[in-house]
């Protein structure tokens, strides 16, 4: 069920076209992410939904209601700001209860609601602390509690995890997901970190330069990116040059170094026409064949160009005859498995089913 509908939304800042004809539907109860590099317009879009920016054209409906002329204080949305915006002159409890000031609840009811909200974010008992004496992670939870206590239809999160240390960030990602399932409302997250988006979201809108490049669930985005840009932004991708020789339910493509391949049309999610095309292969779909190893799959010969050790994985760059750039592939560091040196000759196993034909 659609909760938020944006149609033809445009926004300019002076000469700068920040949002270009955005059409978007966000469903009730989903964890939705706006993902993209800096300057792509994702934060602007979030602020349009929140009511801090007015679109120059187009419409926004939340739960069937038009939001034109409705200020941020009257919308069924609440926001967690990138800087958390915790009121430094108030205590934690006063911060969390701030939005209840105008409600008709009695004082004891308000106090109870604040207590419950703090419990929900894991800060039970912190009510009397001074807000400006908290750590970054704690402030973020206060910001969450403060927004959720008002039971909004939509929770908007503006890069909430970017200021946190890596370990805490990963912890919070899981906690946010659990929180969203528990509370059951729609979450809209803005982030530039594609891993974060993949981990937490039900659906992701990848944005570039004010427009939406692709809108899909994480798995589809990862395995079937529509364009080179999306493919390159999410995860690592090898790009090979190819020539499409015939299209239809099955596509014939001549790939540099790999020869002639036949792939079903789903492996060209953006659609292709005859002629030059970019062929993507994810590193984890390629395997290094060690001395004496055999495989049913296709193989090509090459030489190790670069070795990068990551602890649980090792990434290899392998220069293959006929392919312009070295192929990057990853191998799990299993016990007993050797790590090759730079310069050693080797073979790479690959599968037609892992090819993705990309539009421009």
């Amino acid at each position: 069920m659609t909760l938020i509908n944006l149609a033809g939304v445009n926004k300019h800042f002076g000469d700068y076209h920040a949002l270009r004809d955005i059409d978007l539907n966000i469903h009730q109860g989903e964890f939705f992410s706006l993902l993209g590099p800096s300057g792509c317009g994702k934060t602007t879009l979030l602020r349009v939904i929140a009511g801090f920016e007015d679109p120059d054209s187009g419409s926004l409906h939340i739960d069937g209601r038009g939001m034109a002329g409705v200020g941020p204080n009257l919308r069924p949305t609440n926001m967690v700001f990138q800087s958390y915006a915790i009121f430094p002159h108030l205590s934690v409890a006063e911060n969390v209860g701030f939005g209840l000031r105008r409600s008709a609840m009695s004082k004891p009811d308000k106090a109870r609601a604040v207590g419950e909200a703090l419990e929900m974010v894991g800060l039970g008992g912190y009510g009397n602390r001074a807000a400006n004496a908290l750590s970054g992670g704690q402030r973020q939870r206060v910001a969450l509690a403060r927004a959720l206590i008002l039971k909004p239809k939509v929770l908007l999160l503006d890069e909430p995890l970017s200021a946190l240390d890596k370990k805490i960030r990963e912890q919070m990602q899981v906690e946010l997901m659990k929180l969203q399932r528990e509370v059951g409302i729609t979450f809209i997250l803005v982030t530039h970190d594609q891993e974060e988006a993949l981990v937490m979201s039900d659906r992701i809108a990848v944005m570039f330069e004010g427009g939406i490049g692709q809108l899909d669930d994480p798995e589809t985005l990862y395995r079937r990116p529509a364009t080179e840009r999306v493919a390159g932004f999410i995860g690592m991708m090898n790009f090979l040059r190819g020539q499409v020789t015939s299209t239809g339910a099955e596509i014939e493509v001549e790939v540099e170094g790999l020869g002639r391949c036949r792939v079903p049309a789903e492996q060209a999610p953006g659609g292709v026409s005859a002629g030059a095309v970019s062929v993507g292969i994810r590193p984890e779909t390629l395997s290094l064949l060690f001395e004496g190893e055999r495989t049913d799959r296709m193989e090509v010969a090459g030489r190790v160009d670069e070795v990068v050790y990551y602890g649980d994985m090792t990434y290899y760059d392998v220069a293959v005859d006929g392919i312009e750039k070295p192929l990057t592939l990853s191998m799990k560091n299993l016990i007993g498995r050797p790590v090759l040196d730079v310069g050693m000759p080797t073979r790479v196993a690959w599968d037609e089913r892992s090819l993705v034909l990309l539009g421009r």
């Binding site: 929140a50 801090f52 200020g71 941020p72 204080n73 009257l74 949305t77 609440n78 926001m79 700001f81 990138q82 800087s83 958390y84 915006a85 009121f87 430094p88 002159h89 701030f98 939005g99 000031r101 105008r102 400006n132 004496a133 403060r146 927004a147 008002l150």
Partner: protein, 267 residues
């Protein structure tokens, strides 16, 4: 570097030396201001309390200073809020005009207002003209202090308040005002002090009732009155120092409340 520290101390002594003379000679039992000292007395202070015209001048100055402080701070809050939180066409020239009195010699301000009030509009001179002029010159100082206070605020704080249901006005009252309150208090105290001490404009625009500095100026003609002036000066300087210490304590407390680092001074 020890040489530099010595210089710094010497500099401070040079700054304070003249002021230190005030209490020294205010309690000195002599008619002229010169060394050697001749014993203590409080008769100069006693003379102060008996002067009706002095008390009138003092009351005048206080009324003018208090009114100026309030007006200057209110206008200053408007200008500082606008300047730190928004941009509009012609912003820089407009702010430039408002801040201009900082770099104009006061005599120019005094003279031009005198001409306008008296020669053009035929208005009489009174406390009101002085209040108007003092507010004009205090406004830039208020704005300088309040700019700092507003700039230290996270702009997201106001947006958060709006997001949580407040209107612009109530967001200002509940979130911004408490956080800039130390700046407001500083602005009030600074404007008050400036107005209290200001001479040239008051001299040009005084009506029948002189302000304190104008009154002192009158006293300076009479050599016999010099010790009394020292006594008066001692009180005024002590008062200024107390007010400013309070302003500084408030400023520091404000910074602590907002959880910010102290970068020194009103700047």
């Amino acid at each position: 570097m020890r040489g530099l520290r010595f210089y710094a101390i010497a500099y401070l002594v040079f700054l304070y030396a003249p002021i230190a003379l005030l209490p020294l000679f205010a309690f000195n039992d002599a008619d002229i201001i010169a060394f050697p000292l001749s014993g203590g007395t409080t008769r100069w202070f006693a003379e102060l309390t008996q002067s009706a015209s002095l008390l009138d001048a003092a009351r005048n100055s206080l009324i003018i200073a208090a009114t100026t402080a309030v007006l200057s701070t209110v206008l200053g809050v408007c200008a500082a809020r606008a300047a730190t939180m928004a941009d509009w066409p012609l912003k820089r020239p407009m702010m430039g005009l408002i801040m201009l009195p900082l770099v104009l010699p006061e005599i120019i301000v005094a003279v031009s207002l005198l001409v306008l009030a008296v020669q053009v509009f035929g208005l009489g001179l009174s406390n009101t003209t002085i209040i108007a002029a003092h507010t004009l010159i205090c406004m830039p100082f208020s704005i300088a202090v309040l700019n700092g206070a507003f700039q230290n605020l996270d702009p997201a704080l106001e947006e958060a308040a709006l997001d949580l249901g407040e209107t612009r006005l109530s967001a200002f009252r509940l979130v911004l005002l408490p956080l800039v309150m130390p700046g407001i208090v500083s602005s009030l105290l600074i404007s008050f002090t400036i107005s209290l001490d200001e001479f040239i404009i008051a001299f040009f625009l005084s009506g029948a009732n002189p302000t304190m500095p104008v009154y002192i100026w009158g006293l300076l003609r009479f050599p016999g009155q010099l010790p009394v002036v020292m006594a008066l000066g001692t009180i005024l300087v002590a008062l200024s120092i107390v007010l400013l210490t309070i302003a500084e304590i408030m400023r520091r407390r404000g910074l602590k409340r907002a959880g910010l680092r102290d970068r020194g001074g009103f700047l």
